[in-house]
Point group: C2
Chain length 211, copies 2
């Protein structure tokens, strides 16, 4: 029926939210145009103000959802405590990588908007902390136990998570820059990112292994 990507439903409020997500994610708050959102949603731009009052309020709806999604993705990726440590971490890297691959615009969007307006972030902070603190502690405990058994190197769980997220996220963020520089390597996008995934797993596993 509808061959276009943007399926307009009978729910204009949802259509606007959907169009806003695309506009804000790709252009950021400053670059986004409410008129463009309305047009993409197939409504007059007065409707946008009718449902969401202001650009800022509409934006906040999107940002909050994406912040929650980002936090949950980390939790979902590493929250498999039944596995042994190394398997748990390897599995976590893969899940987290796959999530970023499925949402490649998300990290840049969040990083930018938090940087531009840190105060927007303040309300969400506590929620995310509550979500991620238990993960941090359970992971740290496992790491400490494993290190005590001399199975792996001792490491701060937070540093390890930053390592993993750095490796998983950066290639997606920087892809438009490195692609023209590494033409052949990145020619097949799927293959390049499959390689990156393996490289990240290898790098982190080696970070933890006893030498």
């Amino acid at each position: 029926m509808d061959t276009t990507k943007k399926r307009h439903t009978d729910n204009k409020e949802a259509d606007i939210l959907h169009a806003a997500e695309r506009e804000f994610l790709s252009k950021g708050y400053a670059g986004a145009r409410t008129t463009a959102i309305a047009e993409a949603a197939g409504v007059t731009h007065a409707m946008l103000h009718y449902y969401f009052r202001t650009k800022e309020q509409l934006f906040k709806r999107i940002l909050d959802e994406k912040l929650r999604l980002m936090g949950q993705s980390v939790l979902a990726a590493f929250g498999q405590p039944e596995l042994p440590l190394m398997a748990r971490i390897k599995d976590g890297i893969e899940r987290h990588f796959d999530f970023i691959a499925a949402n490649p615009e998300l990290p840049r969007f969040i990083v930018n908007e938090i940087f531009a307006h840190p105060e927007r972030y303040e309300l969400m902070q506590e929620n995310i902390r509550v979500l991620l603190n238990p993960l941090q502690y359970s992971l740290q405990q496992e790491l400490d136990e494993s290190a005590a058994r001399n199975d792996t190197e001792p490491i701060d769980a937070r540093m390890l998570l930053i390592d993993i997220i750095s490796l998983n996220v950066f290639a997606f963020i920087a892809f438009p820059i490195i692609q023209p520089l590494l033409g052949d390597l990145t020619a097949d996008r799927e293959h390049f990112f499959a390689q990156r995934k393996q490289e990240n797993i290898e790098t982190i596993m080696r970070r933890l292994k006893k030498l």
Copy 2:
């Protein structure tokens, strides 16, 4: 004499460029205001158009300079071929890290603006490639020789560089997000980044070492 940060010289063109750099780096092209640039530079905004015609042309001056700087920083960091391989790479990581630490806004700026307008990047691409290709080849050659001697693990030089740049850049990009989540760890900013630097070196050295 002048206790303010923005030293206005007798050269208004330079003052505008300096103010434009600060505005564009912190807000991006879409968020930057030419009136704010003119005000920060202490000139009427007509002067901005007199010297640079359009916002776009002024922006391009800044972007080109920053792209060149970013490319040169990688070259300068790893272009010390007299050292043995592991020392060369460790030294490169440190130099590159220090450059990012001294220019923490740069990666986000470049990543964003290239993503928003890839066509702006086309002219610079070839310059950067010419700059970085010799580095890539000399590094690959050393890596291959070292691996042939069974001193280190075999690895693609481009993948290694992406690993290093990912680790070095991401903590700076994401700092506003992780700081509120990891309050105590990041309380002393200097100390946190000193730790990150050591962590990155450790991670990459282990990536290369024979097990």
